[in-house]
């Protein structure tokens, strides 16, 4: 590992967070002479690629400079007072928990920008598209990098507007409604969350996450913790999304453009679970402890519910939409993440964090694939794709078909691929939950989760069978197979999926010490 000094790291992190914002503003301005490109649209899309690429490089450099021997320590910390009146500080930093998410975000955003460069979004002007994309990136990166409660909330909110417009302006069917539903649900959750955050901050006397984690909730009464966990948890659960607060997600996914879906599933959902780990777990352990069984229960129900809905969507004549199906599968998979957190054990939380990243990679890939499918066939309706005039990908576009199958099996948790470890660790955690939590209850959850994995396998295999297999219809126009830019976009995701599957330690080594520290009440 190259040795990068701390001040440089600080700069890197700050640039990572602020860079996209600057890029977003720049995107709105007319291109400077010399960078005009073929057309204004092309220039601005290229601008997007450049900026996100630069950010990706920055995060990679950050990861490289990160002291991997001490992942539990906040590194690249910047701590500047911003609004002394409210005791809000510009406190940035990365540790083993946030670093993977930062890299994942930067990567997915870059891939999205790249994809959009070759396939410009249909709808309003690309200028706004790029600006929004970059704004979205700022928000998500900031969410993972900030260490101040109010700032976290700010970052959490920042993603709302760009996502809303991405869906509402460049989306598909019923986009306005879906976008509205998305933003109302999340905002409703997040204002309640704000109240909880304020409660924590005001009662504990600081908004600083590091200080709160070090404090371990000792300066908060149990009542305060309970109220705070309900309030904050509600906001995070909506975002995660936890059953039964998930109903915005399928609509949003269905309506969103490919890029929106990728980022939504790959990054945005992670913000919720990250919040659980980063804020609730260390700052209000007693409160979370009281609610963990319920969280676990909702998570388990979510897992089963998600898979059942997917099953009903995939069955013949179910009029299922492929994007909707993936959305529901996300509900199920995020259930695993939540279950892992609910166990409050290092194993479970590590699993949750691993599953988080894995889900981001795989679902991102899946949405890209579905987007490509939609480009080619004009539809995401499973029945249409599986019918007589259907896709029959193995026959008509074998590489695309193979990739789809790969993503599907990765998602269902095939050992050796990324999806496996997270879910398994989460279930391990549930087998032996933290002291004081009802073991029988968690064993039931474990059973439900197990059932869920089976159902997941069932519907994903059905998807593969219905879409990839089948005879090539007579006289059907040939479907274009994986194009160059598509390959470029998807390869990193595939590679990382495999890497994380075969070498989970690369991730777990980062998260585990940090998780241990968080669960131990901040003592390192």
């Amino acid at each position: 590992m190259p040795d990068i000094s701390e001040p440089v790291l600080q700069l890197l992190l700050a640039a990572t967070v602020a860079g996209p914002l600057v890029g977003a503003v720049a995107a709105l301005l007319p291109a400077p002479p010399g960078l005009k490109g073929k057309s204004p649209d092309q220039a601005v899309l290229r601008h997007g690629v450049v900026v996100t690429g630069a950010i990706l490089l920055l995060t990679l450099a950050l990861a490289a400079g990160f002291d991997h021997s001490r992942p539990s320590v906040m590194q690249a910390s910047t701590d500047i007072s911003w609004i002394p009146a409210l005791d809000i500080r510009l406190h940035l930093g990365v540790d083993g928990i946030s670093l993977p998410l930062l890299v994942l975000t930067a990567l997915l955003t870059f891939l999205c920008a790249l994809y959009s460069y070759f396939r410009p979004p249909t709808g309003a002007s690309p200028k706004a598209f790029v600006a929004l994309l970059l704004l979205l990136e700022t928000g998500t990166l900031a969410t993972f990098a900030v260490l101040d409660l109010v700032l976290f909330f700010l970052a959490f909110e920042t993603v709302l507007i760009p996502m809303y417009f991405l869906i509402a302006r460049w989306g598909g069917a019923a986009r306005e409604q879906a976008a509205g539903k998305f933003i109302v649900y999340t905002l409703l959750g997040s204002v309640i969350m704000l109240l909880g955050l304020l409660l924590i901050g005001l009662k504990a006397g600081t908004f600083d996450m590091v200080a709160l984690a070090a404090d371990g909730g000792s300066s908060l009464s149990v009542t305060v913790q309970l109220v705070a966990v309900v309030a904050v948890g509600l906001g995070l659960a909506v975002k995660s999304p936890m059953w039964p607060l998930h109903s915005w997600l399928p609509d949003a996914h269905t309506a969103a453009p490919t890029v929106g879906s990728v980022l939504l599933a790959g990054v945005l959902l992670k913000m919720g679970t990250y919040g659980f780990v980063r804020i609730l777990l260390p700052a209000t352990p007693d409160g979370l402890h009281a609610f963990a069984p319920y969280l676990g229960a909702f998570a388990a129900v979510g897992i089963v519910y998600g898979s059942l809905v997917c099953l009903s969507l995939v069955r013949e004549g179910g009029k299922g939409d492929l994007k909707r199906l993936i959305a529901y599968s996300s509900v199920g998979h995020m259930g695993f993440v939540l279950l892992g957190i609910a166990t409050m054990t290092p194993t479970g939380v590590n699993g949750a964090l691993f599953a988080n990243v894995a889900h981001g990679l795989i679902t991102g890939l899946l949405f890209f694939l579905v987007g490509a499918l939609k480009d080619r066939t004009g539809s995401t309706d499973i029945d249409a794709l599986a019918g007589v005039a259907g896709a029959a990908l193995y026959g008509r576009a074998p590489r695309l078909g193979a990739l789809l199958a790969f993503a599907a099996v990765a998602l269902l948790g095939l050992p050796g691929l990324a999806g496996f470890w997270g879910e398994m660790l989460a279930m391990f955690g549930a087998f032996q939950p933290a002291a004081g939590l009802s073991r029988p209850a968690f064993l039931v959850y474990l059973g439900l989760a197990g059932l869920g994995t089976l159902l997941t396998a069932a519907y994903l295999l059905l998807v593969v069978r219905r879409i990839c297999m089948g005879a090539v219809p007579e006289g059907a126009p040939p479907l274009a197979d994986v194009r160059g830019h598509e390959a470029a976009t998807w390869t990193p995701l595939v590679a990382l999926t495999v890497l994380a599957g075969v070498w989970p330690a690369v991730l777990l080594g980062l998260t585990d010490p940090a998780v241990q520290k968080l669960l131990a009440g901040g003592a390192s």
Binding site: T122, G171, G172, A173, A174, R175, E176, T377, G378, S379
Partner: protein
């Protein structure tokens, strides 16, 4: 003289004023009701002032001073109020406040133009709902 007399009188005046304010429909009468209320307050202030100075709790005569200002205030209000009522009367030939419905939000505001604009919105939305549901349509759009 007992403090109760002016106090009760003032309360009555104020109550009449409130009644007039709520029940009268002619703007001028409403205006007069408001003046009645203000004068009730004046009476109150003066009576309290005298009472307070006899008990030496207020040697500054704040009540009287405020009364003078209230009188001036009432005059200014009447001045502007009458001007506005006159303006209303000139513009519409009536000063019945119940018939002032021009700025109120009514169905009448939903004229043809409004319906058209909203219909355009809806159409836009509908188009968004089915962008290119079939390849054929998409092809057509591409052409």
């Amino acid at each position: 003289m007992h403090l109760a007399y002016p106090a009760v009188l003032s309360a009555l005046l104020f109550a009449i004023g409130v009644y007039g304010l709520l029940a009268r429909r002619n703007a001028i009468l409403v205006l007069m009701s408001v003046e009645l209320m203000l004068n009730a307050v004046n009476l109150n202030l003066v009576a309290f002032d005298v009472w307070l100075s006899t008990t030496l709790r207020d040697t500054l005569h704040g009540g009287q001073a405020l009364t003078l200002f209230t009188i001036a205030l009432a005059a200014a209000e009447i001045g502007i109020g009458l001007a506005i009522v006159l303006l209303v009367y000139r513009n519409r030939g009536s000063s019945d406040i119940d018939r002032l419905r021009d700025t109120a939000e009514t169905e009448a505001d939903d004229d043809a133009e409004a319906t058209a604009a909203e219909a355009a919105l809806a159409a836009d939305e509908a188009r968004a709902a089915t962008p290119y549901d079939s390849p054929a349509e998409k092809a057509e759009a591409a052409r």
